[in-house]
C-alpha cells in the first residue's frame, strides 16, 4: 500500500518550490513527527501547570515573570533529564553497565509491545479490529506457564516447548474470535472484548487451582514459578535484565514483514482487507482468511505473552497483561500497521514505559506518558486535524484500517479508488485465484 502511495506522491511533485514544500509536509512521516512533537508539547504544558513551584509563581506573574519562567524551564528540564536517564543513558551510573542499563530496559519493555502490536496490526491489514490482545496474552501466558513447570524437560527443549505452548495458547484464543466472526458474522470488537473478560476469569481460576498453582497455600491467584530450564536466558549477562525474548521479537518483526509483504497468504490477507467482496469474487475464501488471520495474529501476541511469562523466574499473576493488550492497539496505529513502523512505535512506547521510575524520582508523575501516548495517537489518527492546524494540503489517511469489513459504504470504495488499489488488487487477486 505504501508503495502505491509513494508512487502517487512522486507524480504529484510540481516544479514550484511551494508545492515541493507542501509535498514534503504532506508525507506521513512528517505528520507523525508533528503529532509526536505536539503531544509532547501538550504533555509538557500539563507538567508545567501542575508543578508546585510554577503554581506558586503564577499569582505574581506580572510582578516577577522571571520566577515563572525559571520554574517552568526547570520542570521541563527535569522531565527531559528523567526521560533521558530513564530510557537511554544514565551518566550518573557507578559502572558502565549501570549507565547503559536504561537503554536495555527500554528494549525489554518494548519487546512485548512490538510483538502484540504486530498481532493487532495484522488484523488491521485484514480490515478487522482485534481488541482481544489482553485475553490472548493471558491465554498464551497461562499455556506457557503450564508448560514451564508441569513438564520437566532437558535444557533447551523445555524452553522451546514452553514458547510453543505460549504461542499456541494465544493463537487458539484468537482463532476462536475469528471463527465466531466467520461463522456468525458477529462483530469482532465485541467478541474480543467479551473474550478478554472470559480469559481473565478462566486464567484467574486456573491460578487458584492445581492447574497452574499446585500446592497453593493461599487463595491469591498466581502461577507456579517456571523451571529454570524454561526461562529465557539473559541476553547480555547478569548485569542486564534483557533476555532472548527480545531476539524473538526482532525475528517476529522480520517474519511479519515477509508474511504481509511477500507471502501469498499475506497477499490474501491484504486483499480481504482492501475489499472482502472483491477478494471473494477472486476466489479467496474470506471466512477462512478471517480465522487464519486471527490465528496468525494470536501467534504474534503469543510472542508478547512468552516475553512476559518466561522473561524471568518470577510467578505470574492475572495482571500479567499489564495493559500491553490495549497499548498494542496504539502501537499498531502509530506504526501504520507495517513492520518497521510497529517496531519504531513499540520502541518509543517501550522507552516511555521504561522511564517510569526515573520520572517518579524526578517528581514527575509517569502517568503523563500515557497522556502523551493518547495524544500522539489522537493526532496521528486524525490527519485532517493536523492538516487544519498547519494548513497542510489535502491528503489521504495512512492508517491501514478500513471500516468494518461488512460495510459496503461508498466512502470506502471511493477511498480505495483514490489509493489506486482497487483495479490493481482485483487484477492480482484474479491471477492468484486462477493459479489455483
Amino acid at each position: 500500500m505504501s508503495d502505491t502511495k509513494e508512487k502517487k506522491d512522486m507524480t504529484q511533485v510540481k516544479l514550484s518550490g511551494r508545492d515541493i514544500l507542501q509535498d514534503i509536509l504532506s508525507s506521513s512521516i512528517l505528520r507523525i513527527v508533528i503529532a509526536i512533537l505536539l503531544a509532547f508539547v501538550f504533555g509538557l504544558l500539563l507538567v508545567i501547570f501542575t508543578n508546585a513551584r510554577v503554581l506558586e509563581s503564577l499569582p505574581n506573574f506580572f510582578g516577577n515573570p522571571g520566577e515563572f519562567f525559571a520554574a517552568a524551564s526547570s520542570s521541563i528540564g527535569a522531565f527531559f533529564e528523567a526521560f533521558f536517564k530513564g530510557a537511554i543513558f544514565n551518566p550518573n551510573g557507578k559502572t558502565v553497565e549501570a549507565q547503559f542499563r536504561p537503554l536495555t530496559e527500554s528494549l525489554r519493555f518494548a519487546g512485548p509491545l512490538i510483538a502484540a502490536g504486530l498481532g493487532v496490526a495484522l488484523t488491521f491489514r485484514v480490515g478487522m479490529f482485534n481488541i482481544g490482545a489482553m485475553g490472548q496474552i493471558l491465554f498464551g501466558s497461562a499455556f506457557a506457564a503450564y508448560a514451564s513447570f508441569q513438564f520437566h524437560l532437558p535444557v533447551g527443549v523445555h524452553l522451546v516447548v514452553a514458547v510453543i505452548f505460549g504461542l499456541i495458547g494465544a493463537s487458539i484464543w484468537s482463532a476462536i474470535a475469528g471463527w465466531l466472526k466467520a461463522q456468525t458474522g458477529a462483530h469482532e470488537v465485541i467478541v474480543t472484548i467479551m473474550m478478554n473478560y472470559i480469559a481473565l476469569n478462566l486464567v484467574t481460576y486456573a491460578m487458584r487451582t492445581d492447574i497452574l498453582n499446585p500446592g497453593a497455600t493461599s487463595t491469591t491467584p498466581q502461577a507456579h514459578a517456571p523451571d529454570p530450564n524454561a526461562v529465557l536466558p539473559l541476553l547480555l549477562g547478569p548485569g542486564f535484565k534483557i533476555h532472548w525474548g527480545f531476539i524473538l521479537v526482532l525475528a517476529s518483526v522480520a517474519v511479519y514483514w515477509w508474511l504481509m509483504e511477500k507471502s501469498s497468504i499475506g497477499f490474501k490477507f491484504r486483499a480481504v482487507g482492501f475489499n472482502p467482496d472483491a477478494a471473494k469474487t477472486a476466489g479467496i475464501n474470506v471466512k477462512r482468511i478471517y480465522v487464519l488471520s486471527m490465528a496468525f495474529s494470536g501467534l504474534f501476541v503469543g510472542i508478547a505473552a512468552v516475553n512476559q511469562t518466561l522473561g524471568d523466574s518470577l510467578r505470574i499473576t492475572p495482571g500479567i497483561d499489564g495493559g500491553i493488550g490495549f497499548e498494542a492497539i496504539t502501537v499498531a496505529l502509530l506504526g501504520g500497521s507495517n513492520a518497521i513502523g510497529v517496531l519504531l512505535a513499540g520502541l518509543l512506547f517501550g522507552a516511555m514505559k521504561a522511564t517510569g521510575p526515573a520520572m517518579q524520582s524526578a517528581g514527575v508523575s509517569p502517568d503523563i506518558l500515557s497522556v502523551v501516548q493518547g495524544l500522539i495517537i489522537l493526532f496521528v489518527a486524525a490527519p485532517p486535524l493536523i492538516k487544519a492546524m498547519f494548513r497542510l494540503p489535502n491528503q489521504r489517511s495512512t492508517i491501514a484500517i478500513d471500516a468494518p469489513t461488512t460495510n459496503k459504504s461508498h466512502k470506502k470504495a471511493k477511498a480505495l479508488k483514490e489509493a489506486g488499489v482497487d483495479s490493481a488488487t482485483k487484477a492480482e487477486a484474479t491471477e492468484e485465484g486462477s493459479e489455483k
Binding site: 456468525t184 458477529a186 467478541v191 473478560y197 481460576y205 490495549f326 508523575s365 493518547g374 484500517i401 466512502k411
Partner: protein, 419 residues
Amino acid sequence: MTLERQFDAAAPIQWKMPIILSVAALVILGFFGFGVDSNDVVFRWSNDTDAIVLANTAINAQLLGIVLGAISVLAAAASIWFAARRKQVPWYLSLIVGFSFIVGLISSVGVGTNVNVVFILSSTVALSTVIVFGSLAGIIGERVGVVNIAIEGQLLMGAFVAAFLGTITGSLWVALIAATLGGALVSMVLAVFSIKYLVDQIIVGVVLNVLVSGITAFFFSTVMSKNGVGTNFPGTFPIISIPFLSDIPVIGPVLFSQRLTTYLMFILVPLVWFVLFKTKLGLRLRSMGEHPLAADTVGLNVNRTRFWAVTLAGLIAGLGGAALTVGSVGSFVKEMSAGQGFIALAVVILGRWHPIYAAAAALLFGFAGTFRIWAVQAGAEIPSDLIQTTPYLVTLLAVTILVGKSVAPASVGKAYEKQ
C-alpha cells in the same frame, strides 16, 4: 429473543433457542436439583429492624431445584414445539428458564444457610447502576449511527470531575453537573473526530479511553494524592428513603431506599425509551442510524443531529461516572471504572439497542458481581471465577445468535458524507 419476524413456511427451523433452553433446563435439573444435598435453604425476606417483617421461608433445596428443573424442562419442551412449527419462541419461556436458573443457583449454593434476598437484590441494583448509565449512552450513540467505544473514558472522566470539583466547591450538585459535562466533553471529542474529521469511530473511541485514563491518572497522582482531603473528598449523596414505599418488604429497601444517582437511573431508563421510540424527535434520531441518506433527503441535518445526540449521550455517561464517586464510594481512584464501560457496550447489544432490555441485561451483570461476593461469603464450593464468566458468555452467545436478525441500526459505525 422475541422478534416480530414472520417466517415463511419454507424457512428453516430455528433450533438455536430450543437447544439453549434445553441445555439450561438440564443443568438446573441435574446440578441445582439432583446434585444438591437434601437440606433446607432459608430465604430471608427482611431484616429484623424493618417496619414490616416477613417470616423466613425454609425449603428443601433439592426439592426446589427439582421442581424448578421440571418447570424448565417443560418450558424447553414448549420451545421445541414452537420451533418445530416455525413459530417464534415466546419470550416468557426464556424468562421462565432464566429465572429458574438464578433461583436454582442461589438455593444450591445457599443450602444449609440463609439467603438474604434483600442484600442480593440491592447489591445487584447497586452494581448495575453505572453499567445502565453507560449502556444508555451507548444506545443513544448507536441509534444515531455512532459507535461509542469511549463509554469507559466518559465514565472515568465523569467520576474524576465529580470528585474533584465536588470537593473544591463543597457541593454535591456541582459534582453531579460537572460529571455530566465531563462525560459530554469526551463525547464531543468523539463526535468531532468521527463526524467532522471522518476518523474511524472505533479508533477514536479506543484512543479516547487511553487519553482519559492517562489524564485522570496524571491528575490523581499529581494533585489528588498530595492533598486528598482538599481535592478528593466530595462525600456521597445521602440515601433517600421514600416514605411508605420504602417500607414495602423486599421491594422497598431495594427500589425506594437509594441515592439520588440511582433514582436518576430509574427515571432515565423509561425516559430514554420514551424519547427514542414514542416521539417525533426519537424517530428522527433513529433514522440517522438506520438510513442517514433518507434522513438527509427529507431535510434533516444528519451530522449536526448526530453530533448533539452523541454529546447528549455523553451527559448520561457522565452521570454514570458521578454514580461511581459521589453516588457510591465518595472518592476517585485511578482506573475506577474498571472495564464497566466495555461491559456497557456488551449490554447495549445484549439489550438489543433498547433502553429497558438493556437495563435488564445490566442487572444480569450486576447479579453476577453480587453472586461472586455472596458465594464466597456463603462458603460455596463452586468457583466464583467461573460463575463470573457467565454474563460474558451469555453476551457472546447473544451476539453470535442475534446476528443476522435486523436489530442493530443499519448504518451504525459509518460516517455520513453529504454528496
